[in-house]
Every structure is written in structure tokens, then in C-alpha cells.
Amino acid sequence: MTKKKIGPSDIEAVARLARLGLSAEEKEKFGRQLNDVLLYMEKLDGLPLEGVEPLSHVLPLQNVMRDDTPRPGLEQKQALANAPEKRDGFFKVPPVIE
């Protein structure tokens, strides 16, 4: 029997945040998989990490910046080309109720 890191309510919360509708089987399956991932990550707890700064980027780069010079982007027609729905130059979307 493996250790339980997360329960069904956690899976539901994560699915809700990602706007995913999961069936009962999927909840069970993804729950198991996520649990495995978390258990695997737990191995890090065994390492001596005192004084180690959290890594923010894997590339040895910093201060990559550009000048503040405008350049033309897309025309409205191009910008809207892939929109499923549009109106008056806007992307048309269903009303959002918070």
C-alpha cells in the first residue's frame, strides 16, 4: 500500500482550477498518477539542501532585455484570423459571470 499524498478533494480542486471535467475513473487514475509524482519528488527531502538557493532558471543567463523601440505587429485582420468568433474588430466571447 503506497502512501497517500493527496485525496479525491484535492484532485477535484485541481481539475476545477484547470477547467477540466473528469469522470470518476479519470479522477481515480490521475489521482494515483499525481500521487506517484509527489512521492517521487519527496526524494528531494532526503538531500542536504541547507543554504542552497532555489533555482529560478536552468539557463546560465541573466538580464536579457531589449530596447524600448516600437515595431509594427499584426494588423487587426491578421490578429483575428484564427478567432472562432469576432465582431467589430473584437474577439467575440461568451459573457463571463464571476
Binding site: 480542486a13 482550477l17 477547467r19 529560478s56 532558471h57 536552468v58 539557463l59 543567463l61 541573466q62 538580464n63 536579457v64 532585455m65 531589449r66 530596447d67 524600448d68 523601440t69 516600437p70 515595431r71 505587429g73 499584426l74 494588423e75 487587426q76 490578429a79 483575428l80 465582431r87 467589430d88 474588430g89 473584437f90 474577439f91 467575440k92 466571447v93 461568451p94 459573457p95 463571463v96 464571476e98
Partner: protein, 474 residues
Amino acid sequence: MNYETVIGLEVHVQLKTETKIFCSCPAGSGGEPNTRVCPVCLGLPGTLPVLNRRAVELALRAGAALNCGLSGFSKFDRKNYFYPDLPKAYQISQYHRPLNGAGWLEIPTAAGKKRIGVTRAHLEEDAGKLVHFEDGWSGVDYNRTGVPLLEIVSDPDLRRPREAYEYLKELRSVMRYIEVSDCDMEKGSFRCDANISLRPAGSRELGVKVEIKNLNSFKAVERALEYEEIRQRGLLERREPVFQETRLFNADLQQTISMRSKEEAHDYRYFPDPDLVPVVFPPERTGEIRGQLPELPLARLTRFREEYGLPDYDAGVLTAERSLADYYEEAAVAGAGYKSLSNWVMGELLGKLNEAGLTIEESPIPAGRLAGLLKLIEEGTISGKIAKRVFAEMFESGEEPARIVERRGLLQISDRGELEGIVETVITGHPGPAADFRGGKEAAIGFLVGQVMKATKGQANPKLVNQLLRARLS
């Protein structure tokens, strides 16, 4: 029971850059929808953001003015949520390592200066704009998406709605002084959300807070907080719970209204943005940036009070905008009397500019010329009354005051002989008031001076007229 009000403000300031924060689209406002967009700000697959150097510079300058600690290491995080105005379904912001750490802003209050803590000031990108069509559908315009914002979070140090107002005023003034932002609330380049809670006086623990949104002016912030203060006190006194929620201010009703949002707390799942590398700078930069700051409004206010002997009110009005303070100082250096200059600038000049819809930079009367006009009054060349006429003409034509005076023959009459004659005529013509004054009615002299001024079309030297009348009537 006595309650203490605790207020904290979150201000979003739009940085004055030419382009957006992570792409080269123009950052201006207005225009046709979706005409200042590109694959980066539209969040199309396969694109990468590249940080705008100017946005970082402006943000650091703002941090320096707010006395923020700079760690020298900063990075970007993704704030995840779904909303149509957010094409990537995350906003690039700074969560763990903001560019500017803790600092403070000093504000003037009725009880003197007060230091308000600043928790942090970090960079982030703006979202798009939603419009609502009549048939219930919505439209999204992504022109604003990716415009650089500096979010300035205050500590919960404000104790009164009025203090919140003063804080915003001071913050706006500072940001404009250092030319980091236009801070135009109407154009959305300065936005504010407010957090407010009440706690029993003397308690150290914070009460349940409410966040207020939809605040479109500094006055609205103050009004909304006043309303919320009363509402929350009522709840606490009736021993009813205060819910942690977001409320919208309705300016027509002058009330805050619950958004009835879902119970669950927002979970933005912040994590480092792998598309952007850290911003690192040596600690010396801090001193360098501080050294380049102009004198800030509150320091300038204090100096105006001390150096020019101006009352608090005058110093406050004159230093609220850097350009106005510059104008005042230029005229003062050119030799105008400090207090009378202050009166002329705040009264005549600002009044006329306002009427004409002009800014101080666009003033048809340069500072040196206004100083010239005031010198004419001080030297007794023209009277204060005539000066107003000359001022109006200068405002129209931009001409030198001395030339207007000469051309119109407006020189002040300070000739004793000439004025004595007119004084005589006025006294003969108004025996009633003359007798009143002789009988001890001091106020009657004002009427007689007025008559002489009228007879000379305002050109008589009023001081001399007063003297002559008194001599003649004693």
C-alpha cells in the same frame, strides 16, 4: 466599543514606455481594437517574451523614490487564472522576488508627516479590455495586453479614509515628479484597489478585511472607505460576521456592493516563468539611481515653506506638480515677491490656464514675464488693479508687460498734485461719507478711495490716495 480602522492600498501605475513590457508593440492607449498586438502579447504558441529595459529602469526609479530596498536579484512568475482578457491564461508578474522590496512613502496629514510602509513594488503586464455587446456577448480588445505596470502595495498603515486619499495624492505626485507615469486615472494609467478592516482599539490582531474595487477617483476611494468603515462597524456592533470578500463601489449610490464571488479563495498557482531569465544588478546601482532622483514633492513643499516663507497651503498647491513648482521658482529667481507671486500663480494664472484648458507648460506667459509684471506693481509703476488688466492682455498676446503698460498708458498716477485735485473733487462730491469718516467711521475711507480709483480708471496709487484723503479729512 471603539474600533480602529486599518487600510492598505494596492496601486497599479502604468509605466511611461514606448512599447509593451514583453514585446515591441506600441504601448499607447485608444485606437481601433486589436491593432497594437503581435503573436507575443496575443499569447500565440511558439512565442517568447523579451523584457523591456526601459520598463525595468522606470520601475527601479520608482522604487528608489519609495525608499525600497533592492535585492539586486529579481525574477518573473506566472499568475494563473482563466479570463478572456488574459490570452495566455496566465499573467506574467513578480511574486517571489519583486524588483523593489520594502520601502516607505511619507505623506502630509493634518497631524504632520506620517510614514506609510510600502510592502513591495513589482513589475507585471496589463490584461486586455472587455466590452459588452447588447445581445449579452462580450468583445475583447488586446491592445492593452502587455502594457507595463508597476504594482505598489502599501502596508496596512493607513488609519483613516482621509489618509488613504492623502497617500494616493502623494504617490501620484511622486510618480509624476520622477516621470515614471502620467498617473491619469481617467485613462487608467493609475488604478487603485483598497483593503479595509476594523479591529477593537488597542488590538494588535487584524480584523477580517474587505477588498474594494471599481474606484475611479481619489474621492471615490475616500468615499468608499468611509462607507465601508460605517458598514463594518455596524456589523461588529451587532455581533454579525464581516465576510472576507470583494466589493464594488457604486459611485451613484455612494455604496459598496458585494460581488457575491465564490467562497473559495483564489489559487493562482504562482511558479517561475521559464521563458524569462532573472534581472540581476549590482548593489551600487541603488545609490546611482537615488542620486539621479529630482527633489521629491514633500521635500520641495518643506523647502518652499522655509525658503519662500509660504503658508502650508500655498506650498502644497505649488509643489503638487513639478512643472508648476519649476515655474514658481523661475519667477521667484527673476525677482518677484514670494507671497504675491504665489497669489498670482494660484489665482490669476491657474484660473486662466484652467479656463483655457492649458497646462502650465503651455502657459502663454513665461515665468520671467510674470515676474516682470509683479515688479511693475512692487515698484509702484502700475496698481494691482491695472496689473490684472495687463495680465489678461499678456495672456492673450504674450507681450511684455512694460510694453502693454506703455502702449495703453496705464502708468500708475503717483503724482501728488494731480491726485490732490481728484481727492478734492471726490470729497466735495460725496459730503456724506466724508462727514462719516470725520465722525470716526473708519470704513467710510474705503468708499472714498474707491471713488478716486474709479475717477482715475484704476490708475491712481491707492496707498497715496489713502494718505491724501486722510490728510485732507483730519
